[in-house]
């Protein structure tokens, strides 16, 4: 599927910038940011994908982006990032409660990844979240008390890692 999709992009002269491709359950999903050649419109690209979409039963959506939609060069000194990882017994409300807490703390989620590990009888829920927050906040101090409460409430382990690494 990836090869067939990217073949169309190669043949139409599209350049793949950022991409995310993953299998969720039995479905494979692909998200791409593309740079189109000047002569190719998003509508025309969508039409070029039609035969493949029909043949492989794909749902394809092409959406134009303006230059401002793409947070590129990471040159924003007003933001910091951190990674939060969670591991524990699966139960309803884990994602909701953790993400609501982060929203309340003005942390913006830029990446979230969950997987159910373990066995069918004993599922273990694993979640990794990358967040952005204003640089002036002491994230450890601000988030840790609430995360500790969530650990108790949800019977999970939550670790927070600040991305502020030194250079080597």
């Amino acid at each position: 599927m990836v090869a067939r999709t990217t073949q169309v992009l190669f043949e139409t002269g599209c350049n793949i910038a950022d991409s995310s491709m993953t299998r969720l359950g039995g479905e494979f999903t692909v998200m791409l940011i593309l740079q189109l050649p000047p002569a190719l419109t998003p509508t025309a690209l969508s039409q070029r994908f039609q035969p493949l979409a029909e043949h492989m039963e794909l749902h394809i959506q092409v959406q134009p982006l303006s230059a401002g939609d793409r947070p590129t060069a990471t040159q924003n000194n007003t933001l910091q990032s951190a990674t939060l990882s969670l591991l524990g017994a699966d139960q309803p409300g884990i994602v909701y409660r953790v993400t609501q807490f982060l929203a309340d703390q003005h942390c913006n989620i830029v990446d979230l990844y969950t997987r159910v590990l373990g066995s069918a009888h004993q599922p273990i829920y694993s979640m990794v979240i990358e967040v952005e927050a204003p640089a002036h906040i002491d994230l450890q101090q601000q988030l840790q008390p609430g995360l500790t409460q969530l650990e108790t409430l949800l019977h999970v382990e939550i670790h927070l890692r600040l991305a502020d690494s030194a250079l080597m």
Partner: protein, 169 residues
């Protein structure tokens, strides 16, 4: 003394296996050591530089955990490390690393928690140190540079262990 330019990925020179140093009386070597120290000091939050990062394929690195934003409580201060060899390592730990040669990314890397390292100082005198925690991590990261390795070679999962920097260097 001079502040040296840092090579960035994908420069092929970052992938070379660096040469052992034998002549410690060479003025060019002593000058390079001073330049590496000045380069490290000139970069904010820089805790280590290896000679290959500056295009000199030599088994030489400098480090100082005191230069980090949150220095560990115990560390050995400024170190000039030549021809290092890890004699012993124990424990493992995951920690976030950033690299001058990969300025757009940071990554979670598994390293030994404690290492015993033998090396020569800038006079060629043999030294042995036991390093733990963050200082051990820095030493392992820098020795990797001498062997042509980058931290991305040790990333287990791009999805969960590699991160784009928010603050460009």
């Amino acid at each position: 003394m001079a502040i040296l330019d840092i090579l960035t990925y994908p420069d092929d020179r970052l992938r070379e296996h660096a040469e052992e140093i034998e002549d410690f009386s060479d003025p060019a070597l002593q000058c390079l050591i001073d330049d590496l120290l000045e380069t490290m000091a000139s970069l904010p939050a820089c805790v280590g530089v290896a000679a290959p990062q500056t295009g000199r394929s030599l088994r030489l690195l400098v480090m100082d955990c005191g230069n980090g934003r949150k220095p560990p409580a115990h560390h050995h201060g400024q170190l000039v490390v030549i021809n290092p060899d890890i004699l012993h390592w124990s424990g493992t730990d995951i920690g976030r690393e950033g690299c001058l040669s990969l300025p757009d990314y940071t990554g979670n890397v598994v390293r030994a928690q404690t290492v015993r390292v033998t090396f020569q100082d800038r006079q060629g005198v043999a030294q042995t140190l036991e390093l733990t925690g963050y200082e051990a991590r820095v030493m392992q990261h820098e020795i990797d540079h001498l062997d042509g390795r980058l931290f991305t070679d040790r990333i287990v999962s791009r999805k969960t262990d590699l991160f784009q920097r928010k603050n460009r260097l």
